[in-house]
């Protein structure tokens, strides 16, 4: 008697426990938690606010409007947890750790900039989260993806950008459009020095003559002295590895000085819609890093769609790639069919994905679908190099100011 009673109670408890166990995950799977730590304040806020954060917002809205991410036959809406890293890498690392251990998010989207992503790489790896480091651009990418398989790079290597620049100029020179005289200026930090060093070697090898070659300090507010000397050297090409405020200042000052090289190539910021907005017809023919194939239906849709939701157009370098990387993440989760981060990392690295920038298939953790050089032609910043890439537009001559 006692035994049966005990057995009955035991069975009841077991059944209840099973119900609880079955009930708990069913509730947790109503949504998929995605977190990010991004610079909303501090010096990185400007860059993160142009390229990264708007794309996170557009993508989350798109996924949720479509019902959510399809995980094992069930559509899960995205629940967002966001932290401001205040442009401080220690804050960012703390926030990423908190997202994983306290908020227990299912996936973490990466921070903005090369430095932040490299600083985040060890912690992403330790926690076992995929890191789609879209805004990181480093020549060490291959070593790093070998060491940390969860880490992927999307913007191409700096060496690929340099190859694209040299290839573009060499073709123009061969076609008799420009002579061999190039003036190069670069901001005096890691970005400017790395790219200008590699480009200097590449241009010399291709037989170009660097008639002016100087760097200027980060934050320089007057470009006139540099440009006057560059102008005096009478080059056919002005090549600047500059940051957005300098990119705007170099363009503006060259216009004022009447400095009219046949090729005008400026750095970060050229691909911003704001550049076109500020210089309007003056932007025609100006080259810069990045670009997109605006004839792709995906890109056409994306630019319009971004404008509708955010209120302005996206930049034409890292923005479309950021959105594409999120599409890859979503497709990888859906193919795996559950929140299994190790399997998702494997799928991101080995799968082939259809995105707004076309087909994406990573090689050794590196996205190969990139543009090295773009040029403003009419309303869009088209990719012109690598010249052999499908959709590459021929370079047009830049009209005088």
């Amino acid at each position: 008697m006692r035994r049966t009673k005990l057995a009955a109670i035991g069975a009841f408890v077991a059944a209840a426990a099973m119900l609880l166990v079955a009930g708990a995950p069913a509730q947790a799977q109503d949504s998929i938690k995605i977190g990010w730590a991004i610079s909303k304040t501090g010096p990185f806020a400007a860059g993160a606010g142009v390229t990264t954060l708007p794309n996170y917002q557009v993508w989350v809205k798109d996924v949720n409007d479509a019902g959510g991410i399809n995980v094992g036959g069930k559509k899960l809406k995205i629940e967002v947890i966001e932290y401001d890293d205040r442009s401080n890498s220690e804050e960012m690392i703390k926030a990423v750790e908190r997202l994983a251990t306290q908020d227990k998010v299912d996936f973490i989207l990466p921070p903005w900039s090369t430095g932040m992503n490299l600083a985040a790489a060890p912690i992403f790896n330790k926690l076992g989260y995929p890191q789609l480091a879209v805004t990181a651009n480093t020549n060490q990418a291959l070593e790093l993806t070998k060491r940390w398989p969860n880490l992927t790079f999307w913007l191409g290597l700096p060496s690929e950008i340099v190859d694209g620049i040299v290839e573009t100029f060499a073709k123009l020179e061969k076609d008799g459009k420009i002579n061999k005289k190039i003036a190069m200026i670069a901001v005096g930090d890691q970005f400017g020095i790395e790219l200008s060093t590699a480009t200097r070697a590449g241009l010399k090898k291709a037989g170009f003559d660097l008639v002016y070659d100087k760097s200027y300090p980060f934050g320089t507010q007057d470009m006139q002295p540099v440009l006057k000397d560059a102008q005096a050297a009478n080059p056919d090409v002005l090549l600047a590895f500059s940051y957005p405020p300098d990119t705007f200042a170099i363009t503006d000052t060259s216009k004022v000085l009447g400095f009219n090289p046949k090729v005008f190539f400026v750095g970060v910021g050229t691909a911003f819609p704001m550049y076109k907005g500020k210089f309007a017809a003056g932007a025609e023919g100006i080259m810069g890093i990045g670009g997109s194939d605006a004839s792709l239906p995906g890109i056409k849709w994306y630019i319009q769609h971004h404008k509708e939701i955010i209120g302005r157009e996206p930049d034409r370098w890292a923005s479309p790639i950021t959105y594409a990387s999120l599409q890859v993440l979503q497709q990888a989760i859906e193919r795996v069919g559950k929140v299994d981060r190790a399997a998702v990392i494997k799928e991101i690295n080995t799968g082939s994905f259809d995105t707004i920038i076309g087909k994406v298939k990573l090689e050794n953790g590196l996205n190969k679908n990139i543009w090295a050089v773009g040029q403003w032609q009419g309303a869009d910043f088209f990719g012109v190099a690598p010249i052999s890439k499908q959709g590459a537009k021929p370079v047009v001559a830049k009209p005088a100011w």
Partner: protein, 299 residues
């Protein structure tokens, strides 16, 4: 051209371009020298006020099609009023409880450090964190064989006019003398019947009006963002300390000197050394005259 003529042209080019750059430095420093030198408030939120004025100019220009020069008529009085209120509401309690100059300096640094984040946060909320840039009067002007941008020349002219007018006001008028008296010795000034609270509030607000004008003018040619204020505070601080705290003419001359030396080094030596020359000049002035070019020795 002969070598001599070529050198003359280069020298003239460097001096004129340097004056224009220095005019901008002086313009952003003049307001701080009033606020720090006379109202004795070391305003760390100075750069944020400058950027706020730049945003106001951008809003008037792109949102309401008001050109920045006309925009000055709205931004300058608004900035005057805002800074007067800031002094009366936030800084007055610090002024009243400060027992001496040193204590006020420390308290005002801490207080305005907080205000910095409030202003920055408000700008982030309203305009977002991205870079802003527009062009106005970005047209070439040819002076003595040198090409300069009209908007930058305008900033230089404003700096010279504001600096000159304030200098005359402070040295030649009765009220200006009263303000200088506060700067030299607030306790003695009070004993001579000067209402130091009202006068300091006015000096602080006038500094705010100048920073408003500076923000509007530089927005015509510099790219700015809500996070960029500290860059301007630093530059203004260097110019103010170099020129001698509270001295209008000193700020003007220190600004122009910095502009010319930066341009000369960029043209003649290497553009990479412009920051180095700024600090070298700053350091040597302080070694030679610890109170700045036109500063008085400490009592």
């Amino acid at each position: 051209m002969t070598v001599k003529a070529l050198l003359m042209t280069l020298a003239l080019d460097i001096v004129l371009s340097g004056l224009v750059l220095g005019g901008m430095y002086a313009l952003i420093a003049l307001g701080l020298t009033l606020q720090y030198g006379i109202a004795r408030i070391m305003n760390l939120s100075y750069g944020e006020c400058l950027v706020a004025a730049a945003f106001a100019a951008l809003y008037l220009y792109s949102g309401m099609a008001v050109n920045p020069i006309i925009g000055l008529l709205a931004v300058v009085p608004a900035s005057f009023a805002a800074n007067w209120l800031l002094y009366q509401i936030v800084l007055m309690p610090l002024v009243r409880r400060a027992r001496n100059q040193g204590m006020l300096e420390v308290d005002s640094i801490l207080g305005t450090f907080g205000i910095l984040f409030v202003i920055q946060g408000l700008m982030l909320l309203t305009f977002g964190g991205s870079l802003q840039s527009y062009s106005y009067l970005s047209v070439p002007v040819h002076i003595l064989g040198t090409t300069l941008a009209l908007n930058r020349i305008l900033a230089l002219l404003f700096a010279v006019v504001i600096g000159g007018v304030l200098y005359v006001f402070l040295t030649r008028t009765r009220y200006g003398t009263a303000l200088r008296a506060i700067a030299v010795n607030p306790d003695a000034a009070r004993l001579s019947g000067i209402d130091i609270h009202a006068a300091s509030a006015l000096a602080f607000a006038a500094g705010g009006a100048i920073v408003g004008a500076g923000g509007v003018l530089i927005s015509m040619f510099l790219t700015f963002s809500a996070a960029m204020g500290v860059v301007f505070t630093m530059k203004a601080l260097i110019v103010v300390i170099m020129g001698g705290v509270g001295n209008m003419l000193g700020a003007l001359i220190a600004g122009l000197l910095l502009g010319i030396s930066e341009t000369a080094v960029a043209r003649l030596v290497d553009p990479g050394l412009t920051i180095a020359v700024t600090y070298a000049l700053f350091l040597s002035v302080l070694l030679w005259r610890p109170t700045g070019l036109f500063g008085r020795p400490a009592r």
